[in-house]
C-alpha cells in the first residue's frame, strides 16, 4: 500500500456529488501534481482529505499510516502528519504567528511523543525557518495572516509546513495570486522540504508552478474523476493545448 492511498473517494457538497470515485496513491519522496479545469473538484479533494465538515463523504476510503483517516477529526489528521496549504488562509486577529505556531508545533510533537518546545528554543527555530523563506522576523509578532498580502499569506503557509514537518502535504492552488518572485520563493521553500520523508500533492490550475516544483507524476481531474495520469510531459501538453481536447477525446471514447 502507498503511504497515502485514496480509494474510490466520493464527496458531496449540499447533496451534489462533486467527487465521483477518486483513486490516487502518493508515496513519500514523490511529488504528484493534480491538474484540472475550474470546477473539476480539485479543492474539494483537498478539503475532504483534511476533513472539512462542509464536505460530506459519501463513499470510499483514505489510508494514511495504517488508518482510514476519514474517521478522524481534522486535528487528529494533522497530528498524524497530514498538512494542507490553503488557497485562502484564514486571518486570526490577536493571535501572533509565533504563539500560534508554537501551539501547533507542540501539539504535533506531543502526538509524536516528543517534548514540547519552550518559548526561547522555539523562537530560535522559528527565526531560522523564517530567514530561509525570506520572511521578515517582525512577522513572528504580527497577528496570523491579518493584513498580510496574498504572497505573504502563501509564504506563511509554507513556513507552517516547514515547522510542522508533515509526511504528506497537499498544496491547494498555492500559486494563485503570486507574482513571479513570490512564486519562486514559495517553490524554493517546497523543494527544500521535499525528500524521502515527505510526499507532496500539488493542486494547480496552471502549469506555471510546475516549472519550479517539478512533479514526478501528473494527474488530471475532470468532473470528479481522475481521467488521465502521466509524467511531467502531461502538464506541458495541458499547458499547450488546454483541457478541451482531453474532454473531447474522453467523450469520443465514451461514445465509441
Amino acid at each position: 500500500m502507498a503511504d497515502l492511498e485514496i480509494r474510490d473517494l466520493r464527496v458531496a457538497v449540499e447533496g451534489n456529488e462533486i467527487l465521483k470515485g477518486v483513486n490516487l496513491a502518493v508515496n513519500k519522496g514523490e511529488i504528484h501534481a493534480l491538474m484540472g479545469p475550474n470546477g473539476s473538484g480539485k479543492s474539494t479533494l483537498a478539503y475532504a482529505l483534511m476533513g472539512h465538515p462542509f464536505y460530506e463523504i459519501t463513499g470510499g476510503e483514505v489510508w494514511f499510516k495504517g488508518q482510514n483517516i476519514l474517521e478522524l477529526e481534522p486535528d487528529e489528521r494533522a497530528r498524524l502528519g497530514l498538512f494542507l496549504a490553503f488557497q485562502y488562509p484564514q486571518e486570526i486577529p490577536g493571535v501572533t504567528v509565533s504563539k500560534f505556531l508554537r501551539a501547533a508545533v507542540n501539539a504535533r510533537r506531543q502526538a509524536m511523543g516528543l517534548e514540547p518546545y519552550g518559548p526561547y528554543e522555539f523562537g530560535l527555530i522559528l527565526n531560522e525557518k523564517m530567514e530561509r523563506l525570506r520572511i521578515d522576523p517582525s512577522f513572528a509578532f504580527r497577528a496570523l495572516n491579518e493584513g498580510f498580502s496574498g504572497g505573504e499569506k502563501k509564504r506563511m503557509e509554507i513556513l507552517q509546513m516547514s515547522l510542522l514537518e508533515p509526511e504528506m502535504a497537499v498544496l491547494d492552488e498555492t500559486d494563485s495570486g503570486l507574482d513571479i518572485d513570490a512564486l519562486r520563493i514559495v517553490a524554493d521553500g517546497v523543494n527544500s522540504l521535499v525528500g524521502p520523508n515527505m510526499g507532496v500533492l500539488v493542486i494547480t490550475h496552471y502549469q506555471r508552478l510546475l516549472n519550479y516544483i517539478q512533479p514526478h507524476f501528473v494527474h488530471v481531474l475532470m468532473d470528479g474523476r481522475i481521467v488521465r495520469s502521466g509524467g511531467p510531459e502531461l502538464a506541458l501538453e495541458l499547458e499547450a493545448r488546454g483541457y478541451d481536447w482531453l474532454r473531447a477525446e474522453l467523450e469520443s471514447t465514451a461514445t465509441a
Partner: protein, 470 residues
C-alpha cells in the same frame, strides 16, 4: 509565551481553584436583612466619628426611597432581606502573614496572594467578607508619604482626607446601590499618592466573599495628587453557594492636575454573585484616568466605569472585556463626560457571549457646551460563540458642542467555522482552536494587563471554554 501552559491546565477545575469555602468563624455578624439598627451597629463596631455615622444614616434613608433600577439587567433575584450585611472575621488587619488567622491565610495562599506580593507588587490589601484582614505597603513608599490601607483604617487615621473626598465623586444619592454602599460600606482601599510621587509597581487588593448570602460593600477612595502616578489592581473571587450574594462597591477616584491613575479589575466572582458597582473618576487638567475592566464571573454584573473630564486636556480611557457564560448577564460599559475643552477619551469594549450568556454594552458619551476640541472614540466588538448567545449595544451620545471629533464603531461577529477548521488543520483540537480565537479577540485588552495577570486571564478564559464544544 504561556499558551501551552494555558492548554495544559485546561483540565483545572474552577471549583478546585476558586470555589472552595472555609468553615469560618466570625467574631461578629449582623442578622440577615437591613435596618437602621444594622447601619448604626456597623458604625458602632467600627467606632466611627459622628460625621461618618451621619453619612451612613443619610444614605440609608436615600436607599429606602430609591427605586430598583429597571433599565438594565434583571435584578428581581436580589433579596435585600436575605443578605448578611456585615461579617467580621478578625479584629484588625494584620501587617504580616503570620498574624493572619490560619484558615484565611490558607485561602489567600491558595489564591497565590503572598507569592504575588513578593514577586511584583508594591503593596497588598486582602479583604475577607466585610473586613480587611491584611494590608501592607512597601516601606520606601510609606516613607515618601504614600498611604495605602483599608478605608476603615483611613477614617480613623486620616479622617480629614477621607471626609474631604468621600461621596464627592459618587454622591450617596447617585443610585440605589451607591446609597446602599454608603450606608453599610466596610473595607475597601484608601490610597493617597503625594504630589509628584510615582508608584512604579502596582498596588493590589484582593476581595474574597466567603460566607453564603453575604453582601460585600467595599468602598474605595483613591487620590492621586498633582503629577502623581499609581496603578491599582483588584481581583475578586467567591465560592459557589446555592444562595446568591451581593457585591455592591463604590469606587471614587480623584486624579489631580497632571496625575495619572490606572485602575485594573479582574472580576471572577462565582456565578451566584450579583455584582453591582459604581466606579467613577474625576480627572482634572492634563490628568489621565484609565480603567481596565475585565469581567468574567458573577450572575449579573452592572458596571459602567466613568471618567468626568473636568480640566483642560484631561484624558480618559475605558478598556473593558466581558465574558458572559451560560446564564450570565454582563451589562457593562463606560461613561465619558467631557466638561472641559481639549479633553480626549477612548472606549474600547470587547465582549464574548457563550451558550445562553448575554453581554450588553451600555455607554454614555457626553460633551458639554463649551467643551471645544474634544476628541472621543468608542468602539465595541462582540463575539458570539453559539446560536443562542446574545449581545446588545446601547450607546448613548449627547454632544452639545459643534467643534468636536467623535468616532463610534460597533461590530458583532461569530467565531467562524473556517477559522476553527484552519486552526484544527494545524493540529489544535476544536476547543483549543476556539479558545485561541477568543484569546486573540480580547488580546487588545489583555495586553494592557501586567504580565502575571495576562497569563491568569488567558487561563481563566481557557477554563471558561471548557466543554463549550459539541
Amino acid at each position: 509565551m504561556e499558551e501551552t501552559k494555558v492548554l495544559e491546565t485546561l483540565r483545572d477545575d474552577y471549583a478546585e481553584r476558586y470555589g472552595f469555602r472555609d468553615e469560618a468563624t466570625y467574631l461578629y455578624e449582623t442578622p440577615r436583612g437591613l435596618s437602621r439598627r444594622v447601619v448604626e451597629e456597623i458604625s458602632a463596631i467600627k467606632n466611627e466619628p459622628e460625621w461618618m455615622r451621619q453619612f451612613r444614616l443619610r444614605a440609608y434613608e436615600i436607599f429606602l426611597k430609591k427605586p430598583m433600577p429597571t433599565w438594565g439587567a434583571d435584578l428581581s433575584g436580589v433579596d435585600f432581606d436575605r443578605i448578611v450585611y456585615y461579617a467580621r472575621p478578625t479584629d484588625r488587619p494584620a501587617r504580616s502573614w503570620d498574624e493572619v488567622p490560619e484558615y484565611i491565610k490558607r485561602t489567600f495562599e491558595r489564591l497565590g496572594i503572598p507569592e504575588a506580593e513578593r514577586k511584583f507588587l508594591a503593596g497588598v490589601e486582602a479583604q475577607y467578607d466585610s473586613e480587611s484582614v491584611y494590608s501592607n505597603v512597601r516601606e520606601d513608599l510609606a516613607r515618601m508619604g504614600v498611604i495605602f490601607c483599608s478605608t476603615d483604617e483611613a477614617v480613623q487615621k486620616y479622617p480629614d482626607l477621607v471626609r474631604e473626598y468621600i461621596g464627592t465623586v459618587v454622591s450617596i444619592a447617585d443610585n440605589k446601590f451607591a446609597a446602599l454602599n454608603s450606608a453599610v460600606w466596610s473595607g475597601g482601599t484608601f490610597i493617597y499618592v503625594p504630589p509628584g510621587v510615582r508608584v512604579e509597581y502596582p498596588l493590589q487588593a484582593y476581595f474574597r466573599i466567603n460566607r453564603e448570602a453575604m453582601g460585600q460593600f467595599e468602598r474605595t477612595l483613591i487620590i492621586a495628587d498633582e503629577g502623581a502616578f499609581v496603578h491599582y489592581v483588584e481581583g475578586c473571587t467567591a465560592p459557589i453557594y446555592t444562595e446568591d450574594s451581593l457585591h455592591a462597591a463604590v469606587v471614587e477616584i480623584i486624579v489631580k492636575r497632571g496625575a495619572r491613575v490606572r485602575y485594573t479589575t479582574i472580576q471572577n466572582w462565582s456565578n451566584n454573585v450579583y455584582n453591582l458597582v459604581t466606579k467613577r473618576a474625576f480627572a482634572y487638567e492634563e490628568a489621565t484616568m484609565e480603567w481596565v475592566d475585565c469581567n468574567i464571573g458573577s450572575k449579573v454584573t452592572m458596571k459602567y466605569p466613568a471618567v468626568y473630564l473636568l480640566g483642560r486636556g484631561a484624558h480618559g480611557e475605558v478598556l473593558s472585556m466581558a465574558f458572559a457564560g451560560d446564564g450570565q448577564h454582563q451589562d457593562t460599559g463606560a461613561k465619558m463626560i467631557h466638561r472641559a475643552p481639549y479633553t480626549t477619551s477612548l472606549v474600547q469594549s470587547k465582549s464574548i457571549s457563550k451558550g445562553t450568556g448575554r453581554a450588553s454594552y451600555r455607554g454614555l458619551l457626553k460633551v458639554y457646551p463649551g467643551a471645544e476640541h474634544v476628541k472621543a472614540n468608542v468602539s465595541c466588538d462582540a463575539l458570539l460563540l453559539h446560536d443562542v448567545s446574545r449581545t446588545d449595544t446601547y450607546p448613548t451620545m449627547e454632544i452639545q458642542e459643534q467643534n468636536v471629533h467623535i468616532g463610534h464603531e460597533a461590530t458583532v461577529s461569530k467565531v467562524g467555522d473556517e477559522q476553527i477548521f484552519y486552526l484544527m488543520s494545524r493540529g489544535l483540537s476544536e476547543e483549543e482552536a476556539i479558545t485561541m480565537i477568543v484569546n486573540g479577540f480580547i488580546e487588545p485588552i489583555v495586553k494592557e494587563l501586567p504580565m502575571e495577570y495576562a497569563v491568569e486571564m488567558n487561563r481563566l478564559i481557557a477554563l471558561e471554554m471548557e466543554g463549550s464544544v459539541g
